[in-house]
Symmetry: C3
Subunit: 267 residues, 3 copies
């Protein structure tokens, strides 16, 4: 059984490597697959979306995720059993729930309280190392979920609010959920949403962003547009995104996650 690993730790520091070490000391045979450690620092919402997007492409196993600005506070440490033998480990701050619910639902959840499966002493600021990595490694070795601590009601788990777009037949008001390294801006929209507006590949649309207006074209892929053209396309996780063919949309628009985007059909 493998462990997938997603955090906002970045790779400049030792945090990720140290967690790998902790897991390997406990479970030397287990394989660890890094999904990403580039979640925006303290970006719980982004982390939860990326986890839910990517897990269908990863082997079933233990899914360890740590984006944890509340480390050391009252927020619980939890482990979840979902469908397909998948297990989830991380803070109870909304990070794990969207993935588990997307992949068949939550069968059981336990608070991680048993210090037999933690590194002692537990530090106040690095539960990724001291609580979550050891728990994930023990689960990957076959430990029963219930050994980690008492069961909690699945409905008591914290959930995040995903910003909802405001969609009518004449106008969409959406927001940027995150920006990737190519400067593509993922929006909180699906293809059905933009089709409701009447936009299909080839349609011209008008974007309003940071109080400026731009023409864009609905397209299937970057290669359908001329260099420098702004496109609205369905990305590989079936979200609508904004890109600039041969360029960076986020840089051109100085856009950050959270920015408002209004879309109308071009007149």
């Amino acid at each position: 059984m493998s462990i997938t690993f997603l955090t906002d730790f970045g790779l400049e520091d030792d945090f990720v490597g140290t967690c790998h070490g902790v897991m390997k000391r406990i479970a030397p045979e287990v394989e660890i697959i890094d999904i990403t450690h580039g979640i925006q620092a303290q970006g719980i919402l982004q982390g939860s979306l990326v986890l839910a997007n990517t897990l269908p492409y990863l082997p079933e196993g233990v899914h360890l995720a740590v984006v944890d600005p509340g480390v050391g506070s009252e927020r619980r440490e939890i482990a979840i059993r979902g469908a397909d033998k998948r297990l989830y480990v991380g803070p109870d701050n909304g990070l794990l729930v969207p993935a588990a619910e997307k992949l068949g639902g939550i069968e059981a959840a336990h608070e991680i309280t048993n210090r037999k499966y933690a590194l002692e002493p537990v530090s106040a600021t690095f539960h990724g190392r001291d609580i979550f990595s050891p728990a994930a490694a023990h689960l990957a070795k076959g430990l029963d979920l219930a050994e980690l601590g008492p069961a909690v009601e699945p409905h008591s788990l914290r959930r995040l609010e995903v910003p909802k777009a405001d969609i009518s037949e004449r106008r969409i008001r959406a927001c940027c959920l995150y920006v990737d390294r190519f400067g593509n801006m993922q929006l909180n929209l699906t293809r059905a949403d933009v089709e409701r507006l009447g936009a299909v590949p080839g349609t011209q649309v008008e974007l309003e962003l940071n109080s400026e207006r731009y023409y864009a074209v609905a397209a299937r892929t970057f290669a359908d547009a001329r260099d420098g053209e702004i496109i609205l396309y369905e990305d590989a996780y079936e979200n609508i995104a904004i890109a600039i063919s041969g360029g960076s949309a986020a840089q051109t628009f100085s856009a950050q996650p959270g920015v408002d985007v209004r879309i109308t059909l071009a007149p």
Copy 2:
């Protein structure tokens, strides 16, 4: 058989991790060795040079490389069999050919068209995940190259033009191919080129860069120069590079890949 993996995906996003997941679902026993995912976004030429430089140091196996600004366009997806049992998978945009030709030549090439070995549905923008990673994983498990699709003529594969330096006995006009994290600037020159100018370790040369002139010394290594001195040296891949001992050449010169560099012997 291992898979080596090189892209321009960066590590901030999930692209690399997701491809690892796809390969591990198909071929759980296969080892994936990441060469780098820091190729400049859409830098096909840089990617092809780094692949050719590094593969001699990596285990023979499947060599997956994805730098693919033309994803979704007419450019073909290809798999190549070279010498030494090496197999190459990636877009037909020039990325793979220099490595394959350096390492013994191309024995066969096939277009990847068989959707039996792809993830369905194939997205328009992430063939790394949906076509190339599955193909690489199946090849690593022993799939015959011909199963992926029809043979194509090796001479029909796209080739890139590597910028050539203009070299005489009095002056070299070269360009910077890429810049590493230490700020060292790799040029399109070999030791033979600078020796033709008469520069051997210890010789003073004059560099012209962004319309400014600098004195530099031909050196064997950074430690042969005083701190802050500009050196011209043969790097570990046998290319000539510019460095500043104890500093960053690229930062000092505000130099980027593509910048012109003129070299003459110091008067």
Copy 3:
């Protein structure tokens, strides 16, 4: 036996991947655990501190570390045998010694001179690839340390000077050793040092930094403070650090490693 790997190579370039390849060609069965490759370029002191902090959390094995501004100079290449079967490989510039001494001391040290265990030709600038990675891989396969070259006296190994804080009962003058991706600033202080000043969780202190004064509170973790509050806390490696709850201390203070920090009790 696994190999842990720490460098200042970064992940933008191929340096790390190429070293992985070299090790895997020699020792295909060996597992490589990357601690970090984000040590500040040429930051020997930071590298040595991170290595000593993290190794207790990593499996015993071969510990390869390369931060090597003096590559190609007279500095020796060394391999060390410590307690617990741990082996250390890297440049003799102070990088390895603090970890080895923290983890039970140095039993033996050998200069790496035997070119039978190096890649030939050895480049002038990339001993990580040509000398250190091969040596580490051969050791992981069971090679005796003495095969690499002649024994050297442990006390002849280079040691670094760690900047010492100036601590009295009324005032501390410390410095920032490094900054992590969250902007937390690690100081050259332990809990005992700040307790000597009288600061325990809840105590208000005054910081002087870049000629500005700030109020901060000694805290156990980020969650003990209000958003935006400056805290002084014991980090997960038992060093005292400065953070801003919900923000980045380093960014707010424009602070870099090496910056002076003065701490007094708030009046």
